[in-house]
Amino acid sequence: MIHSQILERIQETPSTVTLKFDWIEKVLPGQFIMIWVPGQGEIPMSMSFTGKPKGITVKAYGPPSRQLQQMGRGDTLYFRGPYGVPFTEIRGAKLIVGAGSGIASLLPLVDRNSTVMVSAKTESDLIYRGKINAKRIIYLTDDGTYGIKGFPDQVIKDVHPDDFEYIYVCGPEAMMYKVLLALKGRNDRAEFSLERSMKCGIGICDSCSIDGIQLCREGPVRGIGWLRESKEFGMTKLDRSGRRVRIEL
């Protein structure tokens, strides 16, 4: 297990915190770590800062992520990684679509050639506000408290996705599935960062698998062409016991 002390804690929203720490390892946008909160559990986290220092952005759900939120400067992070296949990085025009804490894994991709769509349930859930250094930023909230009222799949056509060399998407599976449908006709140059329960992170336990591939090894980033062929994406997944359940759209 790698360990590193937290250098800085940034409260992004009431339920979301960024933790910065030193780690010399080279990490690419889209890769993740398995972060161990002793006594609480181990969870996958995308690297939201891949430069120096490194950082993760954590939303509070259950015990491990809630405990992470309690941590601050000087506390020790335990983790292993980096794991996973990164996004394909390009220099040209990018459309970046992040919903909820999904924007965390996309943040390291953002540059002056990027148009970024950030969505959240409500204004207070929008993370990195004012900190994203892009060509254009479009905010959306489900309830309209900030920016456009609506969901990314509903407004994506307005930014003319075909004008972008590459499109990157991360967020809840239902949202990503709908974006996939909205990008009808496009079969390449778009990548999605998927999410499944991840127990091992090393391609052994099968908990993160989709269509026979292990997201921890051959994901979490997958290309749009592959996703169109998927029998499980947007349809079913296995719960923590391995039981197949429907994905709510």
Binding site: M198, I202, C205, Q214, R243
Partner: protein
Amino acid sequence: MLSQSVAGIVLESPLMLASGILDQNGYTMKRVLESGAAAVVTKSIGVEPREGYFPPIVSVFEGGLLNAVGLSNPGIIHIGTEISIAKEAGKPVIGSIFGATPDEFLRLGSAMEDMKVSGVELNLSCPHVKGVGAEVGSDPALVKQIVSTLKGSLSIPVFSKLSPNVSSVLEIATAASDSDGLVLINTVKGMAVDIYARRPVLSNMYGGLSGPAIKPVGIRYVYEVKKELDPVIIGVGGIETADDAIEYMMAGASAVQIGTALMKHGISVFSTIKKGVAEFLEKEGIKSVSEIVGVAVQ
């Protein structure tokens, strides 16, 4: 040249996927089969769904892996979906089951038979879940009863997977000798402590060791049981290369299972090993892989 029949199950090669590794999701099992495995063994299935332990469930160390997945499984009534998907590959699927009593094993075995698996593998050896696994598997009388109950009721082959965490493997192997074959070995009990966090890494504290570290232990069990009792054996534990698979077969295994190697080598390990075994046989002038089974046993 590579095809091999084990307790009547015809395998295109002696290489099977071990229980518990990439065999929970039907699509994964299907892909593993399509990538060169001759058969898959499902994750061990019990009567009720189990989430298993909270992560950390694995800890990698030099020479292998320590795991305490905790028998997470969807329960026997939900595994059918996955088995059907896996069976689309057209190759044998073996159902692994665990329980506490002969009755439980029988319920599970019968359900598996109904799902048209090619055989059942009794997990008598999981080292890290109380009341099932190794606790059952270190009681010779109970093992004998479970095996004879299943053999009396099922028509598909019954394999018994044994634990290496025992004083005398021969005693347990003898108790399980009504099985159509023995699967040797399950993981070796172990543990890892993180010295900075000052606590065991696995949420379950104890786990099971697998990978290259345990290969000599597996070879020893296969050899010793083959030499003393001569049953049909499926060898498992630390196989990463064709040489490892051949070593197990020469020590007495009719087929082998591969698990932890998928961590380092990915699913392509099956085709790599298959190719390697074929090359070895050719180079050594051996016509059929069955000829090497047990040749090292003296």
